[in-house]
Symmetry: C2
Subunit: 316 residues, 2 copies
């Protein structure tokens, strides 16, 4: 079978043996995978990664302990929890200190024809949900995480900064949830993708100072955080979605003076994402920039890294 590898920033594709299936796990056959910014960060050398990347996928179950799973189409939670520590017992296995993470840390990823995941990580994909929508389950779950962490009253205006993949998905998910979303970005065509969801778009505009109680920072840029703090009202909340590596210059004084809350937000529960996908509540059309076969993964990574690219998909 074909498997993509990342080593010292170089993407290679080679034949590899089909992985063996540990007890309690399912053997999965890839239908479709998405390249995430995290994959590009792994390529740039953060986290000292080497191995098979990939954590956004739709796959068919080929083998499993649970007979009913075999032949079903699934997506899957990316964190492999220990299931026993205090984090896992609180339903927060995403922070389990003993976890491995599919295609990110300690567990071979989805950019290969066959891979494995614990059965308990899997979620069935309803027939009504296409592969093209289901492959967004993981980033949609990450956007949903905001709603798990912060109570945003319905119809409350929320500013989302950034019209990259992350910002667009956050805007679509929050709008799907019923928030009044205002999206700030620099690309007219990308902003337009959120029009069907009723998102108010701001092209090349700075938001007015202290104009929102909730601001989501999804720019991926070092300046985004200060812009978010400026736009937030006293006692308001900034949700940090971008991981910008290295140091960001932050003037902490306005955070203290205006008693602003900053909330870091990462992966989310698939259980929150699946109903949104099933209900077709998130207009994902236009979010895909390109498709490549696994064999052309190097080109796919290159394409995904180009400015302005949205989701790049890999197919077996």
């Amino acid at each position: 079978m074909l498997a993509v590898s990342l080593n010292d920033g170089v993407v290679t594709v080679a034949e590899a043996p089909r992985p063996s299936r540990p007890h309690g796990h399912a053997l999965l056959h890839l239908r479709m995978a998405g390249i995430c910014n995290t994959d590009l960060e792994l390529q740039r050398g953060y986290y000292g990664f080497s191995g098979v990347p990939g954590h956004e996928f739709v796959a068919d179950v080929v083998e499993a302990d649970t007979a009913e799973l075999v032949g079903r189409r699934v997506v899957g939670e990316i964190n492999l929890e220990c299931g026993e520590c205090s984090w896992c017992r609180r339903g927060l296995g995403r922070h389990c200190p003993h976890r491995t993470t599919l295609g990110i840390a300690g567990w071979p990823g989805a950019f290969q024809e066959y891979f494995t995941l614990p059965e308990r990580n899997l979620h069935l994909v309803p027939d009504s949900v296409s592969d093209e929508d289901a492959v967004f389950a993981e980033p949609v779950a990450a956007a949903c995480e905001i709603l798990d962490q912060v109570e945003i009253p319905l119809a409350e205006p929320v500013a989302v900064l950034g019209d990259g993949k992350l910002g667009l998905l956050v805007a679509l998910v929050l709008a799907g949830h019923g928030c009044r979303v205002e999206l700030f970005g620099h690309h007219e065509a990308k902003l337009a993708l959120t029009a069907p969801a009723g998102v108010i778009r701001h092209l090349n505009e700075e938001g007015a100072p202290a104009s929102f109680d909730f601001v989501v920072e999804a720019t991926g840029s070092a300046e985004g955080l200060m812009q978010a703090v400026r736009m937030t009202r006293p006692r308001g909340t900034v949700i940090l979605k971008s991981t910008v590596h290295g140091s960001v210059a932050l003037d902490a004084a306005p955070i203290v003076v205006n008693e602003i809350t900053l909330v870091g937000s990462r992966c989310g529960r698939f259980a929150a994402a699946m109903p949104l996908l099933s209900a077709h509540a998130i207009p994902l059309a236009g979010m895909v920039s390109a498709r490549y076969p696994l064999a052309q993964a190097a080109h796919a990574f290159e394409h995904a890294a180009r400015r302005g690219t949205l989701k790049v998909l890999l197919l077996p």
Copy 2:
């Protein structure tokens, strides 16, 4: 009467006319005032301040609309709210955009023999509370603000970083509230002031990574924030009490990956502070480094700015 002035960083003391009392206000005669780090920041030129500083005080009411106030010993909220905007209506006049602030912005301060404040800002000081304790009402209220903003379960370990005035008061207030406080600092004698409150002291120790769910940053240093984030468990909370001016280098990635919440925290409600002072729940002995008459305010400011100094008091 004598009044202290700050102009271009220079502290002067001069005779000035007794201020006239606006309708709804009380004319106050100073008993005792405290020099706060904010006063030193005003001197250093932040906020472009010039005028009479001072916002920590105990005073006697000399004149007031309400006859029962006259002759009473009081402390006072430092923000003069409009009383009508949405912030004031929510009980958050401390964020009223139309506010002035005693000795900080737009309202002459307490470092003079007589000054005025709205009657509604005043809190009576019970006879059992000494001037030396009552003068801490404002910074104790600021420490109490943490408990208004963040729900900290009783007996939950809380790390406080910094053994300056602010860190010590925060440690004493949280311990008085019933938290299990661990204080990290660099001065044995200062740390020892919190021993009567049962605070666990760490001299020149770095806290272990991811060891607390609640960490209060009160170091006043640019490095404090990163140390606080390091010491906080996933999904934990860092409370920012220090205002460090200028940019702080912040690596935002661990905040996102560990989904840490940062909460900026400034002034607090005197209504929360007064019961603690009345109950003598906060051992404030040893918090005063020196006392000066108003006439020697320049020396007092100099003393307050020296490293290692705790509270410096001014007396008429």
